[in-house]
Amino acid sequence: MARCYDPYEMTRRQLVGRGVGAGLALYGAKLLTFDRMLEQAAAQDVPNAPVLVSVFLPGGCDLLAAFPPLDQVGRYNDLRASLSPGDGFTPLPNESRLGFHPALADGINGGIAGMFGNGRIGLLPGIDYADPDLSHFHSRNFWERGQITLQGGTGWLGRWLDVHGSANPLQGVTMDQRQSPLLTTATAPNAAITDPETAALRFAYMEGSFADKADAAWAKMTALSRATPGAAAAMQTAKDTQSVGKLLAPVGASALAAPVVYPGGEFAGQLRTLAALIAQPLGVRIATVDAPGDYDTHDNQAADLQDALGQLSRGLSAFQADLEARGVADRVLTFVWSEFGRRPRSNRSGGTDHGAGGMAWVQGTRAVSGVLSDFPDLSRLDRLDNLAVTVDFRSVYASLLEQWLASDATQILPDAANAGRLQLIR
């Protein structure tokens, strides 16, 4: 992989080992000029620099409702009772063993089912970790940080930026108001974007030369160092906010216009903006989006999943078509995941409780397509009556780091050495 130009790399790596506050304070003291940062952003726009997009389905998506195993229908109907469509399953294109939720055919080119048939999706049923914790917040924390210990700290994609990133905040983009915990870094800057066209900092009554003075004043007052984590984060973020506004200034309406028709809604809008940003020479390397809808289907599962999976399918199929129409699809891989799966046996409130053995997929023109892990056996549940775990998410992370980001996984994931690998990229 082409390395990013970064004169402070060694210093920053050393800083990772210190406290966040101390790291930020020292990094803040070694200010890069804005021109230097622009240079770096440009230097980073290596043709074919791969981009990893994370799409999180919050709440624990139900594998069995999304992709029912057609070779286990009898057992499935026993477990799912009224939640099962009975014999109303349609097999995935080119995969007779698996069905799909009807909402997954919504969208351009047959939605997610269509993308599966066109070799754009590598499905990972049964993904989780051994002895899974059924708390949303614990499991989510593990997936976000890429390790099975409860603590704060950096996200696994944030750590990748700390090791391989530059001073360009657009290298890691959260398409949301708040920054994703996946992208929490020790030192590397990153960005949260809702509307690129209004990202520039503007002060009231400051036009012309006054605007320049306001700009210079902000740059000065955000270049100070602070010793404690909250104050240091405020300082760093205030500085990055100005940089993001300047870097996005050239991105106007024409760059943001999509070559395909997106559905309505916030999620589709986030993906449309993201595709446009990826296609511009801005140096985006990692991006995260949260999917809408309620996947925590303790009750009302039928209606809630219809809505959530429909929005997901329409949004992701438009995003994929957009990337392909823009000619950048070969350098974008989308990883779709949820924090756990759901209980095979439904409850009596028309829903399912927290379970194990969830689902994820890799999506893109360079994803290995098909079903990439064993589908859990419905007649061999674990001691808590949950699905067996057939693939550890850390082995998927390690494979993504090595095969897609051409990085040493052991530098990013503490458990990488002991995790297996899957072929995810072709």
């Binding site: 002060f203 009231a204 007052m221 009596r348 927290h354």
Partner: protein, 323 residues
């Protein structure tokens, strides 16, 4: 209910929450019948509200059985909940190693007498008010205050608010203001009414829509409030107020004399914006901005522009984001 019971005993607060249709509908407690209980409320009651840890998956399942019995109904389009004894599982349950025909009122006693409860609540409330780490001695003393007061939330919060650690960092604060505090605090300290919906929109852009937390766990606090998008919205808060979102701030920020010294300018801006904490090094930079602004001979128009800029920098800058 939250207002009337928030400083009561913790048991009374949990009781009020458990019996409230809002949580019963939100966490699937209503419509969790005998025979196929829904685990949603039982799990979050222990994980998020009372214990944090120290329970097993089996405890979750048994507690869900003990909590069965509420149903939901819709009358004239309004959904409410009611207790139906026939839907309650009155069999024996084993929770935290104790066995009995437990029901909802037993559950809230079990969770509030669990040994993990007092440490959990003390640590959670401490972190809400104080950025200094909680040392074991202070933790033990606060747990003792809580337990010896009959689990009074008022006694515990009072002890935290009286603790010297709360006042230890007044010269270098480190608690990131959450959006409601950033917005309401700016309005309150500048004497501004909530005169516009813009404030709610800005709070949402800062990452907090009141009454719409992202999940039952609420928001992530601390530095997690800060993103470039959220910071942009915090700058917009300042510019909105100076531009007229706050009539009083707009009028005061528009008054400045061409003969004002940099120190007078800074002092006026701090006064107008409600004197948020601004570090000495930042004040020095703001003074230098004031010195350089005139580009030679100051004019009344330039003085007003400078004052408006300083007002915005004071409220929008990084220092004003912590308290």
């Amino acid at each position: 209910m939250l207002r009337t019971r928030s400083l009561d005993t913790f048991l009374r607060l949990v009781e009020g929450i458990m019996n409230d249709p809002a949580i019963q509908l939100y966490l699937s407690l209503a419509g969790s019948p005998k025979g196929a209980p829904n685990e949603n409320f039982a799990r979050e009651l222990m994980e998020l509200f009372t214990l944090g840890s120290g329970y097993s998956e089996q405890d979750v399942r048994e507690m869900a059985r003990a909590l069965t019995g509420w149903r939901r109904r819709r009358v004239n389009g309004i959904v409410s909940t009611y207790w139906d004894p026939a839907a309650h599982d009155d069999g024996m349950k084993t929770i935290f190693g104790q066995s009995g025909p437990f029901g909802p009122d037993d559950v809230i006693v079990l969770v509030t007498t669990h040994p993990a409860h007092a440490p959990f609540l003390v640590a959670k409330l401490w972190a809400f008010f104080v950025t200094e780490p909680l040392d074991p001695g202070t933790a033990a003393a606060l747990q003792s205050t809580y337990l010896s007061s009959g689990q009074s939330i008022k006694a515990l919060v009072g002890a935290i608010l009286a603790h010297p650690a709360l006042y230890a960092r007044l010269e270098a604060p480190d608690m990131v203001k959450w959006p409601a505090v950033a917005v309401a605090g700016a309005l309150r300290t500048t004497g501004s009414p909530v005169s516009s919906r813009a404030y709610a929109r800005l709070m949402s852009q800062m990452g907090q829509r009141l009454f719409r937390p992202p999940s039952v766990a609420g928001w992530d606090w601390g530095p997690a409030w800060l993103s470039t998008n959220a910071m942009h919205a915090r700058v917009q808060l300042a510019s909105t107020m100076v531009a007229g979102g706050s009539h009083g701030v707009r009028v005061r920020a528009g008054r400045a004399g061409a003969d004002w010294t940099p120190a007078q300018h800074l002092d006026a801006a701090l006064l107008t914006m409600g004197r948020p904490w601004i570090a000495r090094d930042t004040q020095a930079i703001l003074l230098s901005v004031a010195r350089d602004f005139a580009d030679g001979e100051p004019t009344p128009a330039r003085a007003v522009a400078l004052q408006r800029l300083l007002c915005q920098l004071v409220l929008a800058g990084p220092d004003a984001q912590v308290c």
